[in-house]
Symmetry: C2
Subunit: 389 residues, 2 copies
């Protein structure tokens, strides 16, 4: 049924969409009050926008990125030139259509794509924060986004949309600011990190911190880069983003060359692929940001702040929710989504839920999944009617 969708490339060519964005600076008088108790000030939020805010200011959609994402959701990355990370979901004729919505995507606090994070200069010393940067949480990311959204003159978001860590932010938005979120789309996500989730992240952090070039987090100041450690972290994480079946189908036991090397070169294509994933990642991501953002995800437990009862996080909420999961996602299995939906039901919040058959694993939310597109389109369509868009 994907053929019923319009040809996105053609639309993009015919109808260029206004894009904007930049860096919003919050000064010493507008601190970000962090969950840890620390204050972050000044700080900056880098963002991109697509489309136009309507006169009623009712068509704004915040797109929240995942662990290693950035604000360049639907336009080429200014440095690498690579397409936006959700280009297939965001664009004219696509589910998140800039001709209908004013789309905002910001780099999370703690990130490394223009928003303030551990590689930013500490105002006190002028040198990179390193591990002196305060630990941040998903709620801190959301509070910074809320300040950005307010600075753009928007009271209420029509939707907050995200996959994986982006979905955590969407849930956190609805919990923190129920009156400012008309609808929320939560894809391949969870309301808390499981022991296995934490374990994989801890392996990644230990890999980074084991690299002597990490230098206690002061590598920027000292002019080194913990590339090997960060690459290992990425390799381990990358396996969790794919299903066993997807790996087997794509690589199986295929060799790089004719015959085995009888050594420790990359004999198998899957080894070469993983090494490439690791090497490419260190070019675009900061090691300390990796530590901070994985920590934020591990700390995430939406129920904990509400006496262990997730339903209470959504008590009295009138936000409409769309929750999507993928059958082969073993990082955030469907059961995590089901527990979110049960909580929403218990809270009386309107929720639609769909488990999508896919063998692509967790990364399915970034890949070609027409059923996901139709589910998001249909949900936003109905929400738009209710919102009078």
């Amino acid at each position: 049924m994907s053929e019923v969708l319009p040809e996105p490339e053609v639309h993009a060519a015919i109808r260029p969409v206004e894009t904007g964005g930049g860096v919003q600076r919050f000064g010493a008088r507008q601190p970000l009050r962090l969950e840890s108790g620390a204050l972050l000030a000044p700080f900056e939020v880098a963002y991109k926008t697509y489309g136009r805010l309507n006169a009623e200011r009712s068509n704004a959609v915040l797109i929240c990125h995942a662990l290693t994402g950035d604000q360049h959701v639907a336009s080429p990355h200014p440095q690498s030139g690579k397409p936006g990370w959700w280009q297939r979901m965001v664009g004219p004729g696509r589910p998140l259509d800039p001709e209908r919505y004013f789309l905002i995507c910001s780099n999370v606090i703690g990130g490394c794509s223009g928003s303030t994070g551990p590689s930013s200069p500490d105002p006190k010393s002028g040198e990179a924060w390193g591990l002196r940067f305060p630990v941040i949480t998903i709620a801190d990311m959301v509070r910074a986004q809320a300040m950005l959204v307010a600075s753009l003159g928007i009271d209420t978001l029509f939707a907050v949309v995200g996959g994986s860590m982006g979905g955590m932010q969407a849930l956190q938005w609805a919990a923190l600011y129920p009156e400012r979120v008309f609808s929320a789309v939560v894809i391949a996500s969870a309301a808390r990190h499981s022991a296995q989730n934490i374990a994989f992240h801890e392996v990644g952090r230990q890999a980074v911190m084991a690299d002597p070039d990490w230098q206690g987090g002061d590598y920027v100041k000292l002019g080194s880069r913990p590339e090997k450690g960060l690459a290992v972290a990425r390799m381990a994480a990358h396996i969790t983003y794919l299903s066993e079946r997807a790996l087997q189908r794509r690589f199986g036991r295929e060799l790089q060359r004719d015959g085995l090397s009888w050594g420790f070169d990359a004999d198998f294509q899957v080894e070469s692929y993983l090494r490439h994933q690791g090497a490419a990642f260190v070019d675009r991501f900061d090691a300390n940001s990796y530590l901070y953002i994985t920590r934020a995800m591990d700390y995430f437990d939406l129920a904990a702040a509400h006496g262990g009862q997730l339903a209470r996080a959504f008590a009295g909420s009138r936000t409409r929710f769309c929750v999507l999961s993928f059958t082969s996602d073993w990082l955030y299995p469907t059961e995590e989504s089901r527990s979110i939906v049960r909580a929403l039901n218990a809270a009386g919040a309107p929720a639609s839920f769909l488990e999508i058959e896919s063998d692509k694993g967790h990364d399915a939310f970034l890949l070609d999944e027409p059923v996901m597109d139709r589910a998001v389109s249909g949900f936003l369509e109905a929400a738009g009617e209710a919102r009078g868009l």
Copy 2:
């Protein structure tokens, strides 16, 4: 039904069992002809035995250890003093009973517990082999074991038994020496490494090789130890040995202390547990052996040597097989065992298969699983009758 088993501790106390073993040296005239084409000579195999060989020499059972195991299967480790790694399976009144069987367990070639491996001295230089040690395979391990078994005066093994990599060796034994293996017990194993299996091993190898103290594999010679890299490798691997559910049940999101640290210490118990697993492992295992043995496992593909048809590996085999898997083992899922059983069926080899309900993950084969005990006992009982034991 575990109560039908006799009290093992009582039996062990009442009936001490003769143990033996040592190091079998194979000289320059008895080289090990490796799959790579290289010859390994001289070489040594360290082993332990329990019980006595009967007059007919028909009661010998070879126990094959897993990736990080050793020959100390049922007696305290001479250095650490820790109990044998399969003490709950091997002992008087247990499924592998030294009062009935002459049990042999040897350290694999490439290992680091007394058998020749990359940390052994290269006879040419007198210095540790390091990466100059030839790459070995599961079949090479088995050929070395076959030489050991022959040197003990045993023509035919009553059984070859192993879990995980030990199960691969049992399969390989049956394929290489069908007339010398009366029965084989293959637990939580596979006839080939999947793309995901290879991927996780590659992460571990990259973690080791990323450690500057690894020094191109010459750390023994140069007096360093790649402990951080090896610990990260172990942490990543350890997650794959446990089920998501087992981790959640045992650790959940339980904290080490009251409240979060707001830093990068081990806040969660699962982090502390993993760090401990990593730290304890480097005390007992050699980093290069880890590279070589994981490589051997990745190279394992029993069908490949038989035109891609696993059944041909067992053509004409009269070995009796017992294949066991665990429902929550995601490292070697039941489907891998099923494909072994299908091949055995196609080859006309007698095979019994049981998928055991367990939420303990891959490590279930090392843990308290009474159903596994009864399955192994029952299978060996019947095979023993057929063998006239």
